[in-house]
Amino acid sequence: MRQAQHETNAETTPINTRRQALKCMLWAGSGVLWTVAGGVPRSSIIGSAQAADIPTTDFMFAQVSDSHIGFHAPANPDVKQTFRHAVRQVAALKGRASMLIHTGDVSHLGKDDELDTAQRILHDAGMDAHVIPGEHDMLLNHGQGFYRRFSPKDAEPLGAYTFDDHGVHFIALNNVSDFRPGGLGRLGAGQMAWLKADLQGRSASQPIVVLAHMPLWSVYPRWGWGTDESAELLAAFKPFGSVTVLNGHIHQVLQKVEGHVAFHTALSTAFPLPAPGDGPGPIPVKLPSAALAQALGTATVHVIGSDTGLAVVNQPLGA
């Protein structure tokens, strides 16, 4: 999964052309539109021509991720504004999309005022929002501020919970609370047992959508982009005909299919990160703010398949 195919992976160098900037900014600022037809979710970038062409289906929802409210570095001096922009795009889908999912790192430091701000902005979408924790949301008081605002009262001890919508079973996980040195995301034994109990006896034909912040498959372990229990998870999901995993954390779109399980990572609404392994670490990519304003919501996305058929990369092609 070293994404050499990812055309935008050289954006740690200065941007010379508007076209390059637009390509790069597709990594940030937009949400993802999900439509479910025949139990199979499909994605498109909100605001893209592809999204506009999607026919009405039974079920449509939006995903945003990694808003990092409280981040103040040059990669994005105004994360509130970009998050508001993404949520406004989602709000415009009201009537078509029935809910909004945020796949974590709502806040940058997990502070009360950051979480409050994020909650207010999410409210403006005008639809139900499901928010799962990222590791930044867990930084203070073991994430109590996050749980109090966003997790159901009857959730599993780490905030994991399930809900059903239009016949789809959603499983919201927390793989950011039990890190080990040098390790990846981690669900922990308790949450794994809780998950297996939830799957036990469930009809194999029911579509399942799994939400987790860090990728549930191994994207780039050297930067911690994966989850310790991914093999165990794949085994647990094996009997099911349609499993879609939605992740955030890596601030770029990557997709992978393994058996009946499709993995997707989402864009950040705050700032892009480099492609896996590009540079010494996942350092926020700095862009001119003008490029950000110009690029938001103007993009189209083409999906291309790789030679192996295992990995699909949403490759931004400019405005």
């Binding site: 570095a73 911690g224 350092i283």
Partner: protein, 128 residues
């Protein structure tokens, strides 16, 4: 006569030892001259840069204070990886720092709890 020679020799060897210790530390106070006894408590910095601790492994003498300084645009933490969590910083934003004084000899592995692939170790040993 004999006993005073022994005392003098001891004093000289501790001075040499103090000089070697401070000389080995990249950011330690470097003025270890004769009248500085007892030596001031040693201070060492570990830089957090590009999602790594520099140096990742640090050998220090007991009583040394280690200060971690975050030079990244992202937030990091410094958390002892042992179950006791002997030391654990608050989230460190850009430019913020955290200090801990290591009195007891031992090996102290630690990590950034935001980015657990970032790991380091402090080795506290007399004469280090």
């Amino acid at each position: 006569m004999r006993s005073s020679t022994v005392i003098a020799r001891c004093a000289v060897s501790s001075l040499i030892l103090a000089g070697i210790l401070t000389g080995e530390r990249p950011f330690a106070a470097s003025h270890a001259h004769a009248q500085a006894l007892p030596a001031p408590a040693a201070q060492v910095r570990v830089l957090i840069h590009n999602y790594a601790f520099h140096p990742a492994t640090l050998r220090i003498a007991p009583g040394t204070t280690v200060t971690w300084v975050n030079q990244d645009d992202d937030v990091h933490t410094v958390m002892n990886a042992d179950h006791g969590h002997l030391f654990s910083s608050k989230p460190l934003n850009t430019g913020q720092s955290f200090s801990h004084t290591f009195d007891a000899p031992g090996i102290y592995p630690y990590l950034c709890s935001v980015h657990p692939f970032m790991t380091g170790a402090i080795i506290v040993k007399a004469g280090a």
